[in-house]
Amino acid sequence: MAETHSLQDMRQQAAVAAKVFIQRDYSNGTMCQFQTKFPSELETKIDKQQFEETIRTLNNLYAEAEKLGSQSFIEGCLACLTAYTVFLCMETHYEKVLKKIAKYIQEQNDKIYAPRGLLLTDPIERGLRVIEITIYEDRSFSR
């Protein structure tokens, strides 16, 4: 999670009012996807469309990380031939996409969530179990 000025101010000044957890959506199997259902606690805080857009983008990014394509097939075969020692040397495709996701979450926090007194936690810090949204007490953070 990146700390920006607005986020730092928020964390220092505001108390945590509540935490909302967006659970995983397993309807497509074991792929990492999160539920897009809009939680009731956020109804007064953020626009439903915005929220769903964020979750949907995250889901697409995770699908891209786990995608089984020709590139991952070639990488897998190459790794097997080298007894998987390449995993020790280079960054895996998944890790590259995780960095993208971290950047996206930071960007969303800066632009959309922090001004509304919310904070998205990168799911990787919660073991890809949940997206944790921290709701801070409303202290005139409105735009």
Binding site: F21, Y26, T30, G76, C77, A83, Y84, Y94
Partner: protein, 473 residues
């Protein structure tokens, strides 16, 4: 009896993390007050960490030293005794091929043993409280609630997600809690004592490569030693003369002969699992075999062998979720260990179960069933288990969890104990029986003890392979 008390998590009473004195602002520090602590130092599962968190294994290394030792000894004898003769009489490719296979086997073994198998970190206290609240909203909170399950629809199949009492979360599909390591592991295959680690989503491809290359290595060494002895015994000199000239070959021959069948069988079995996108755990439980009478198919299979293989072996390597080497922030709790209600006694049972992996693996595993029956009254599958640990670990299949660890333990004991095999897939049973034919059978009334298992380990050189095969069923 159920000795686990249900205790609702009160968010206000969540344990306050005091890894460090309040004066340290940024990171939790160690005892000396100077070095920041890493997350692996406070990891709640039963794992061992080396190289400052870079390497991890199960706390019980099982017979991993034996596995390593046997591979090193056999290969060493091969290079010392057989290769010089074969290079002189045949070709110098032989040590080259042997060397490549040996290095492959060693690297994949170490990777299987030292990699995080896909452990799911335990839920944070707030998450756990949130889930508890959701559950209690739907049920009654006046007394201990029934085992918690959640149903999801995956590919038109209803899958039950079970709540893990230890990790305080609903387990994702195909995830299982390993009681030996005390962790939920994603795409849990089995706990393998031979590699001293669980086999799960992240290290299955290493494990599969290990057993396939080990089959090749064992078969190759067996063939080379046979050729070597045959060449030496040529000209009427006889086999005894050849063995006297090259005593190391006799040892190798014995080891390879006893192990090649079971390792080949194991590789074949896992190739079948990979091609059908199954885990050993699911295969043993018969999750998709429709034994309950319903028409169930594996919802995770892509219905294409090639795609199934790719999705198991070639999918991008998932990251480790436990962040072993991350630094512990001062204001965060380690994990949900404060409200952990696990009782210590199941651990002794786990130790006993782990030691089952002797050369007579199948038999010992079969013998475990009475042991299981004594410790947990309901030893049969599909019944709720009163053992506190297994309630969280296995939901209702304690004996099957055993079999996860001990391979074909329960599965094979079912085969032997009952007149008709429970599973419809004859191919697997055939493999099980093949492995069993190479190991002597104890009686089912034997209560296995760790010491007897160790004795079994040493009695047959590479017979552990048979056990491995059996156990990994």
């Amino acid at each position: 009896m159920k000795s686990r008390e249900y205790q609702q998590i009160d968010p206000k009473a969540l344990p306050t993390p005091t890894q460090s004195p309040p004066s340290h602002q940024h990171q939790a520090v160690g005892d000396d007050g100077r070095t920041p602590r890493r997350k692996w130092e406070v990891f709640p599962g039963k794992n061992r960490f080396f190289c400052d968190g870079r390497i991890m294994m199960a706390r019980q290394s099982g017979v991993f030293p034996l596995t390593l030792g046997l591979i090193l000894v056999t290969s060493g004898l091969f290079f010392i005794f057989d290769c010089p003769f074969l290079v002189k009489h045949l070709t110098s490719c032989i040590p080259a091929i042997g060397g490549v296979l040996f290095v492959f086997v060693l690297i994949t073994l170490l990777q299987t043993s030292f990699t995080d198998p896909g452990i799911l970190p335990r839920a944070t206290p707030e998450e756990a409280a949130d889930i508890e609240r959701q559950i209690d909203d739907t049920g009654n909170a006046s007394y201990r609630p029934p085992p918690r399950t959640k149903e999801v629809l995956i590919n038109q199949q209803v899958i039950k997600l079970k709540y893990c009492f230890t990790c305080k979360m609903f387990r994702p599909p195909r995830t299982s809690h390993c009681s030996l390591c005390d962790n939920c592991v994603e795409r849990f295959d089995h706990h393998c004592p031979w590699v001293g680690n669980c086999v799960g989503k992240r290290n299955y491809r290493f494990f599969y490569t290990f057993i396939v290359s080990l089959s090749f290595l064992t078969a190759f060494i067996f063939g080379c030693v046979t050729t070597h002895l045959a060449l030496r015994a040529k000209g009427g000199k006889g086999l005894m003369f050849a063995l006297q000239e090259s005593p190391g070959s006799a040892v190798e021959l014995a080891i390879c002969f006893f192990s090649v069948w079971s390792i080949l069988g194991l590789s074949g079995f896992h190739t079948y699992l990979v091609a059908s996108n199954l885990t050993t755990n699911e295969d043993i439980k018969g999750s998709w075999s429709g034994k309950s009478g319903e028409a169930v198919t594996n919802p995770y299979s892509h219905k294409n062998i090639f795609i199934n293989c790719c999705s198991v072996l070639c999918v991008p390597m998932p990251p480790s979720l436990i962040d072993r080497r991350g630094f512990l922030p001062a204001d965060e709790p380690a994990q949900t260990s404060g409200v952990d209600l696990e009782l210590p006694n199941p651990n002794t049972k786990s130790d006993i179960n782990v030691c089952v992996q002797g050369p007579k693996g199948l038999l010992e595993s079969a013998a475990l069933t009475p042991l299981l029956a004594t410790s947990c009254p309901q030893g049969k599958p599909q019944t709720a288990l009163p053992c506190p640990e297994n309630t969280s670990a296995l939901n209702s299949d304690p004996s099957l969890e055993l079999s996860q660890r001990c391979g074909g333990t329960h599965h094979n004991s079912k085969t032997y104990g009952s007149t008709s095999p429970p599973l419809p897939t004859k191919g697997r049973l055939h493999k099980h029986k093949r492995a069993s034919s190479h190991t002597p059978r104890p009686t089912f009334d034997d209560h296995v003890s760790p010491s007897s298992h160790d004795g079994n380990h040493r009695s047959t050189d590479r017979g552990h392979r048979g056990a491995k095969f059996a156990t990994l069923q």
